[in-house]
Symmetry: none
Subunit: 243 residues, 2 copies
Amino acid sequence: MSGRANAGQSTLRSSNSSLALERLREMLDQDLSATDRQLPTERELSETLGVGRRAVRRALEVLESEGRIWRRQGSGTYVGPAPDKSGPVIDGLSSRSNFFEVMEVRLRIEPALAQLAALRATEDDIRHLRDLTRKISEAQDADSRELWDSALHRYIAQTAGNTLFLALFNIVDKVRQDPAWHHVREMARSQESRVLYTDQHDTIVAAIERRDPAGAEAAARQHILSLHERLLAVTAGGLSHAS
Amino acid sequence: MSGRANAGQSTLRSSNSSLALERLREMLDQDLSATDRQLPTERELSETLGVGRRAVRRALEVLESEGRIWRRQGSGTYVGPAPDKSGPVIDGLSSRSNFFEVMEVRLRIEPALAQLAALRATEDDIRHLRDLTRKISEAQDADSRELWDSALHRYIAQTAGNTLFLALFNIVDKVRQDPAWHHVREMARSQESRVLYTDQHDTIVAAIERRDPAGAEAAARQHILSLHERLLAVTAGGLSHAS
DNA sequence: ACGGATTTGTCCGTATGTATC
DNA sequence: TGATACATACGGACAAATCCG
C-alpha cells in the first residue's frame, strides 16, 4: 500500500508551481475587496488546483513575501492588505492610467517598433508608409489628420512583424484613444505643430526605407518626445509634478 | 521519416522508435476525447510496445514537441490539449517563432522597467528586491528557483510604478508561461547558468539601489540577452543538430 | 485550564522522468 | 540496448501551533 499515483483527479494541469501561483493570484484579485479573509487549506488548494501540496506551498511562499497573504501555523492562510499596485485586468485600465503612463510606455514601445520595422519592412510596406505620410499631410480637417496619424503608427507596428508586440501596441493605443482624453488631443492638435510632426513622420519613414534601425528608433523617440512635450504644455495647468 | 508502411505484423524486431511513435499516436487518437489523462509510465510502455526505453523516450520527445503530450519528472506523462490538428507539420516551429517574439519583446520591455524602477524604488522596494535575490540563490530545487526568479522580475515591473506598463508585462509573462513552453523552460533550467543569472540579478538590483537608471537598464538588457542566448542554444539543440 | 480538532510546517518513502554509462 | 544513478514530485505521517468548546 503505497501512495497511489493521482489516478483519478481530473484537472492535473500543465507544469509546475507557477501555475498554482497564477491561479492563486487570480483568486486574490477576485477577493480584492475582502481583507482578512481566510483561504482554503493547503490540502484543499492542492486538490482544487490539481498540483501537489509542495507546489502550493511554494506559491504561497511567494505571495507571502509579497505581503499579499499571511499564514499562521495551526490557523490557516489569510489574505493581507491588497497592494493596489497589481492591476491584472485590462478593463478599466484607462481609468487608472494617466497621460504620463501612456507617454512613458509609448516612449519605449514605438521606437522599438520603428527599429524592427526598419529591419523587416518590405517594398510594399514602405510604399504604404509613404502613402500614409502623404495622406496625413493632405488631410484637411483635424479629425482625419488624427485618423491617418493613428493609421501610420499602427502600420509601423504591424510592419515590425511581431504579433505579441502588436498586441501590446493595440492595448496602449486603446488606452490612448480613451474618450476621457479627447479634449486634450483636441487642444494639442489645434497647435501649429503639424509641420513638425509631418517632418518627423517623414524622418521615421525615411529611416525605415533606408533600413536604418537606429535612425528609425531615434526618429520615433524624438517624435514621441515632441508629442509628450506638446501634451505637457497643453495640460500644464492640471498636472504638476513631472519629476 | 521513412517508410511507415510496415504497420502490419512484421516479425522483424525493428525496435525502432518510429514503431513506438506510431503506436503511441494510435493510442493518443483513441483517447483524444479524454484530455488530462495520464499515460502509462515509460517503463510500462517499453514493455507493452516491446521496444527499449530509449525508443519510447525518443517517441515521447517528438510527441511532446508537437504539444500532444507533456511530461513531468516525478509525476508522469500526460496527454495535452488540442489533439485536432490536420496539419501534423511543424507545430514545434510555431512555438519557436513565438519564442523569438517573446524574447524580442522582453528585450525591450524589461530594461525599460528596470530603468523606471531605479527611478522610483522606495527603500522598502529595494529591501524586498534584495530579499528576492537572496531567495533565488538560496533555493534548493529548480522549481522554486524559477518561481522566485519570476517573482523578482515581476516585482521590478511593479516597482516601475506604471500600471499600463505592468499590464503589458503581465501579458508577456502570461505568454511566457504558456504550457507549450514547458519543454524549453525545463531544459533551460537544467543548465548550469545559475551563478551567471544570480550575478546579473545582483547587478540589476544594485543599480536600482544606487538609483542608476542607465545601469539598471543595461544590466537588465544584458540579463535578457543571456537568457535569449541560453534558450536559443536549448531550442537549437532540441530541434536539430547544433552547429 | 484543559483537551480534542484543525491547520501549517517538516520529513520521508515511493514512483516517475532525466541523464549517463 | 540495457542498466544504474540522479532529480523531482506526490502523498502520507508526524510535529508544532492554533482554535474552539
